[in-house]
Amino acid sequence: MNTGSCLQLRRLFFTAVFLFSIAAVPLRALGPYLGSNAPNALLLLPAPPPAGSVEDLADRDAAYSVFLTCTPEQFALGVAQQRLNIFHLTESVGPWFQAGKFPKTEALFKQVTDESFLVSRPIKLVWKRQRPYITDPVRFAKVIEPDPNPTPTYPSGHATRATLYALILCELFPEHRDEILTKARESGWLRVQGGVHTPLDIFAGRTLGQSIAQAFLRSPEFQHDLAEVRAELAAGKP
C-alpha cells in the first residue's frame, strides 16, 4: 500500500470517527454526573403506536376524557407547574424548604435538569409523536400550554423530570417518600388533565425518569455532591 492511499484511509477513518461521535452526541449526556452511564432511551422505551392506529386513537380518546373532567383547580395547577421545579413536590417536607435558601441543593437539581434534558429532548425527535391538541384542535380547544409549534409529545418531559426529581428528593427526605412520589405522579397526570399529553406519554416519561434517576444515584460524583446537599439541608432544618 502506498503512502497516499494510507493517508486517505486514515482521513476516512478519522472522518468516520468524527461523524459517529456527532451522531452519538444527542443520545449521550455529557454532564459530569451521567457521563457514559446515561440510559439509552431508544433501547429502554418502546416506540409509541403509529399515528392513526387503533391504539393511538384509543390513547388520544383516553386523553380527551381525562381533559374533559379537568377541574379549574387542576387546570390552574397545571399552568402553575409549567416550569416544574422541586418545590412543587415537597409540600409535605414543610414550609422551611423554600426556593432561594439552599444554593447547593438548587445547583444540584439545576445540573440534574440540564443533564436529563440531554437524554429526554433528543428522544422526542426520534418518534415525532404529535400533541393531542395538535392532531385534534377542536376537542382540545383550551389547553394549559397552547403552543402552535410544540416539541413532540412522547415521552413527556414533565413526567420524566417529576419522577427524576422525586426519586432524588426521596434520598434527601426518606420520611416523606410516599407523599413526594404521589406528588410526582400527579405532576405527570396534570399534563393529561391539561390537554397537552396522552396517558402513554406519561407512562413513558415515568419510565425514563426512573432510569435516569438510577443512573444519577450510581454516579460517585453525584453521591459526593448529594452528601453536601444533605449537610446543607440538615443545617437549615428547623
Partner: protein
C-alpha cells in the same frame, strides 16, 4: 441443638437449596435477571383518579372492539411464536421445527417468571376483578390473585418479536408491529389496562436484550437458524 430447632433449620436449608437449584435451572437468563423489574414505574394506586381513568379507557376499548378482534384476542390466550406466521410465511408451522420450538418454550418460561414476579410485587387487580359489572365479556376470568401489571402476554409478545427479528431480520418491522399488537389485544379482550401493556413492552424489550447477551442462548439460536434455513422455501 434441641430437636424442636432441628426441623425448622432443616426446612430452611432445604428451601435454600431448592431456591439455589431453581436459580441455577435458568438456562438463559442470569441469576440477577429480575433486576430488570427496576425499570418499571409503579402502576397508579388502586382507586386513584388516574386508576379510574385507566379503567374507563380499558372499558371503552373493550366494549367497542369488533367480534373479530375479540376472537383474535381469545385465540392468543395461548400465545406462541406461530401467531407470528402471518408475518413470517405459511411454511412456519408448529410440529416441524423442534429446536426452534424448544428454544422459544424455554424463553417463554423464563420470561414468565419475570413478569409474574412483577405482578406479585404490585398486586394490581385485573380490570374484570376491579369492576366485574362492566367486564362480563372479558376473554378470561381468572382468580383475583392473577394480577394485571405488567402484562405477561405483552412481555412475551415483545420478547418473541425481538428474538424472531434475529431469525428473520428482513421482517423486523412487521414482527415488532405484531409484538405490539399482542399486547393491545389484551386491552381489547378486557383483561389488561393500557399501562400493563406498556410495562410489558418495556420489560419484553429489556429481556430480549438479556437473552441475546447469553452465550448459551446464542448457541441455541444459531441451531434454530440452521434448522429454519434448511426448511425455508
Amino acid at each position: 441443638m434441641k430437636f424442636r430447632h432441628v426441623v425448622p433449620a432443616l426446612f430452611s436449608i432445604a428451601l435454600l437449596v431448592s431456591a439455589q437449584a431453581y436459580a441455577g435451572a435458568t438456562k438463559y437468563l442470569p441469576a440477577n435477571a429480575s433486576d430488570v423489574l427496576a425499570l418499571l414505574p409503579a402502576p397508579p394506586p388502586a382507586g386513584s383518579s388516574e386508576d379510574q381513568a385507566e379503567l374507563d379507557a380499558t372499558f371503552r376499548v373493550h366494549s367497542t372492539c369488533s367480534p373479530e378482534q375479540l376472537a383474535r384476542s381469545k385465540d392468543e390466550n395461548k400465545l406462541t411464536i406461530f401467531h407470528f406466521s402471518p408475518v413470517i410465511g405459511p411454511w412456519f408451522q408448529p410440529g416441524k421445527f423442534p429446536k426452534t420450538e424448544a428454544l422459544f418454550k424455554e424463553v417463554e418460561a423464563e420470561a414468565k417468571v419475570m413478569s409474574n414476579q412483577g405482578k406479585a410485587q404490585w398486586k394490581r387487580l385485573r380490570p374484570y376483578n376491579a369492576d366485574p359489572e362492566r367486564f362480563p365479556r372479558a376473554i378470561e376470568h381468572e382468580a383475583k390473585t392473577s394480577y394485571s401489571y405488567p402484562s405477561g402476554h405483552s412481555t412475551r409478545g415483545n420478547v418473541f418479536a425481538y428474538l424472531l427479528a434475529e431469525l428473520f431480520p428482513e421482517k423486523r418491522e412487521a414482527l415488532l408491529e405484531k409484538g405490539r399488537d399482542c399486547g393491545w389485544l389484551r386491552v381489547q379482550g378486557g383483561v389488561h389496562y393500557p399501562d400493563d401493556v406498556f410495562a410489558g413492552r418495556v420489560l419484553g424489550q429489556a429481556l430480549a436484550k438479556t437473552f441475546l447477551s447469553s452465550q448459551i442462548f446464542q448457541r441455541d439460536l444459531a441451531e434454530a437458524k440452521a434448522e429454519l434455513a434448511a426448511a425455508r422455501p
